[in-house]
Symmetry: C2
Subunit: 138 residues, 2 copies
Amino acid sequence: MEKSAKEGYGKVLGRLEQEILDVLWKSGPLNGKEIFSDIRRKRDLALTTVLTVIERLAKKGLVRKTRGESVYLFEAAYSRDGFAREVSQEVLKSIFDISRSGACASFVDMLARVDPVELEELSSMIEKKKKELERARG
Amino acid sequence: MEKSAKEGYGKVLGRLEQEILDVLWKSGPLNGKEIFSDIRRKRDLALTTVLTVIERLAKKGLVRKTRGESVYLFEAAYSRDGFAREVSQEVLKSIFDISRSGACASFVDMLARVDPVELEELSSMIEKKKKELERARG
DNA sequence: TTGACATTCTACGTATTGTCGAATATATTT
DNA sequence: AAATATATTCGACAATACGTAGAATGTCAA
């Protein structure tokens, strides 16, 4: 499955989109130019390029656009966590549809590789969820 | 985050691509026409449409194309589980990059909703993985 | 009113997927 | 082998998504 090298299967957002959201998650509401400046530090892009993509994100509902004094302000419509949750939801569902156990196995693998400590977290989340379910049933 | 309605964020494969793989996972190696017939049962498409997409899947390395007697045969290059694992890997990674805990939370939620029994499975997978890690460390 | 700056519009390039018909290649049948 | 049928490949067009950015337009303050 070499294709991964090129781009990867379930990419969630485009590169610039991702960068913009990252900026917004890092710093609060910003105007277009500020976002642009931040991104500019790493890459050479035209202001309008950044603006365009911000606009598209707004259209998708991922960025909120509000009128500041004399300038529009943008902020992420969802928290980092919230967004990850939302998106995971969809992505995972589509993977679950292919194979549940495959997805589980790979989830654990991934987590172990990327952040083993989080395995603990996950354990307790599961425990909590199980209790929750029991309670709901009785 | 309404966009989901339209298409969804981390879609792994296109519709027809998915359908074709499903057919191949269900039945072993098939020739183009057989795959076509199967898909045809649900949707009205031209033979060449299906052929084209099969060909693209082959080019992506997701389908293996072999010479049968007088006809090419196609089969999935990866098992359902293997594929799910591979793909999850990538997709999850990109979500993890956004937020680890968000992804975890949503994973547990999802699993609980879709297949609560599997929560047990997951628990043991984690335990196993933890031991594995300990052993590796010493 | 004239600049300077902010915002929107329009547009091109590339990629991916769905969709096919036309052309070509490969059997099969006389 | 010629004719016919079947299989396979090619090339195309449409839609969508994303990156990219110049041109056009809008806004406000001096």
